[in-house]
């Protein structure tokens, strides 16, 4: 799959999350969470630590099963499907901890993503073009590369598959400022390639710089939906829900 140079207009809803309620045991974590992402859009889900951002992503990919509500991809229901099936339908999660296979080399991590893909996504050449550092680290084991390289590898793994929706969970967390800028550039590249993306970030300014729209979640409920400009200008909103 070659990346288009411009993002397509967000004309149709690609992913729709409709009033989902997700629990950890008896703990009610997500309360009637709804959001939608149009094809080609980059949407940021913002919020403080522990308010339900990662739980929302886990609910979308089938890692957690919402008790009620609906999640659809191009109109097709995802709730009740397992993680493998949802991934094969084109929903790719780059988890917060990156979850690189540390017993495999960088090349094997990439190969695994290729062989498990239902349809191919980016070619390896395209990946190496966008992430040249990975080419230099092909023979290194997953635990022998830096945090930034792990993040690049985690994103590259997702892009080697036929991604319809990319879910990025805290992609800049724990990275040095210089590496954060590199990751931000990668997210811009993904956006310009027209890949529909849901970005979960605590790094507010990093997220606002690339998002078309954003949601703010607090205590498991969506409190705000709007544009990055609205978040930037509404100090009260930021102080109340984001503590900045």
């Amino acid at each position: 799959m070659n990346a288009p140079t411009t993002a397509p207009a967000a004309t149709q809803t690609r992913l729709r999350v409709d009033t989902i309620n997700t629990y950890y045991g008896d703990s009610h974590v997500l309360r009637d969470v709804s959001l939608h992402i149009g094809a080609g859009e980059t949407v940021a889900l913002l919020g403080r630590n522990g308010v339900g951002k990662t739980t929302t992503l886990k609910s979308i990919v089938g890692w957690l099963k919402p008790r009620t509500g609906s999640i659809t991809l191009d109109g097709e229901e995802l709730i009740g499907r397992d993680m493998m099936t949802i991934a094969r339908k084109g929903v790719s999660l780059v988890p917060e901890e990156r979850r690189i296979f540390t017993n495999l080399t960088v090349a094997e991590n990439l190969k695994l993503a290729q062989v498990t893909a239902r349809k191919p996504g980016w070619t390896l050449d395209h990946v190496y073009e966008k992430f040249p550092r990975l080419r230099e680290r092909l023979t290194h084991k997953g635990d022998e590369i830096s945090g930034g390289e792990k993040q690049m590898l985690a994103i590259a793994r997702a892009l080697l598959q036929d991604v319809k929706v990319l879910l990025l969970d805290e992609p800049t967390e724990g990275l040095a400022p210089l590496i954060v800028r590199e990751v931000e550039n990668v997210i811009r590249e993904i956006k310009s390639a027209g890949i529909t993306t849901l970005l979960v970030e605590q790094n507010l300014y990093s997220a606002l710089a690339v998002a078309d729209r954003c949601y703010i979640i607090d205590q498991g409920e969506i409190k705000f939906e709007g544009t990055p400009a609205q978040v930037r200008t509404d100090e009260d909103l930021r102080r109340r829900y984001l503590h900045v």
């Binding site: 890692w63 991934a87 979850r99 540390t102 017993n103 094997e108 190969k111 695994l112 498990t116 793994r157």
Partner: protein, 289 residues
């Protein structure tokens, strides 16, 4: 000196049996996180299937039928019983697999009786080979060579095939494999069948060396668990190193002080657990998971 070399070769043969069982145990544990106490039963079933086929059809067919029969049994067992225990506590896994092992043992006792049995090799393989100062049974050497070839094939499967790649990734992180669209269930079934087939084949092939009875499965299972712990959970090369080490320790101790041969392996395990809890070639990350 001749006795020493005899014991050394005996330790190699015994160690290779442990390696073959432990490799199955360790890849099943690594991929499925299943503590499989029924794995010795796979060895015993393979041994009895091999015995019957060898006596009625031919030894060559025994080596084909035993792994196939045991793999099929394992797949059915996996689908019907074990699958619902993958995510359960190790205690529940231990109890259910221990129960399966007991059921298999008693069933074998009902069918074949409690006496020890053995089948004879064809005459062509009954001779001995002179290796320097010692003379050693040809079949034992052939058996050792066969197990080494089989282990090499298993290693190639794990290291060089697509399924092997999924298996190795699954050993580290089953969830991420699924998040990438990997069919971990299918890979797990293949791994389970493969581990069982290896045990079944070795059971059939070792019967001319070590006679069998219904409790044979447990007799080989316990040292093989020691091998997995000593070598490192989930580690292929750990199982190889641990198996050879335990086999040689047992055999050489038997030469010096026979009653100590069954104690020495537990002392070895205790020492490894004290000094390197993850095993000689194991990784602490696997233990944490």
């Amino acid at each position: 000196m001749e006795a020493f070399f005899q014991a050394l070769l005996g330790g190699l043969v015994l160690g290779l049996i442990y390696v073959a069982i432990a490799v199955g145990l360790t890849i099943i544990f690594g991929t499925l996180r299943l503590v499989n106490f029924a794995h010795g039963a796979f060895y015993a079933i393979g041994a009895y299937v091999g015995l019957v086929i060898a006596q009625h059809i031919g030894v060559g067919w025994a080596f084909i039928a035993a792994p196939i029969a045991v793999a099929l049994f394992a797949v059915v067992l996996d689908r019907v019983v074990l699958r619902s225990f993958y995510d359960k506590e190790p205690t529940a896994q231990l109890l259910v697999t221990f129960g399966i092992a007991l059921v298999v043992e008693e069933t074998l006792r009902l069918i074949f009786g409690a006496t020890t049995q053995q089948y004879k090799m064809p005459e062509a393989l009954q001779g001995s080979v002179t290796l320097g100062p010692i003379t050693y049974p040809a079949y034992r050497l052939l058996f050792a060579a066969g197990v080494i070839v089989m282990l090499a094939l298993v290693w190639l499967f794990i290291e060089r095939t697509t399924y092997g790649l999924i298996v190795r990734a699954g050993i580290r992180d089953r969830i991420m494999v699924q998040l990438l669209g990997g069919n971990i269930r299918q890979a797990s079934t293949i791994v389970f069948a493969l581990g069982a087939a290896i045990a079944g084949l070795v059971g059939a092939a070792a019967t001319p060396i070590y006679s069998i009875d219904p409790a044979t499965g447990f007799a080989f299972l316990v040292p093989s668990f020691v091998v997995v712990v000593v070598g490192g959970l989930g580690s292929f090369w750990g199982a190889v190193l641990g198996g050879l080490l335990i086999g040689e320790l047992q055999s050489l101790t038997n030469l010096v002080y026979a009653p100590g041969s069954s104690v020495i392996i537990y002392l070895c395990m205790a020492l490894v657990l004290l000094l390197r809890p993850q095993g000689l070639l194991g990784e602490s990350e696997v233990i944490r998971q």
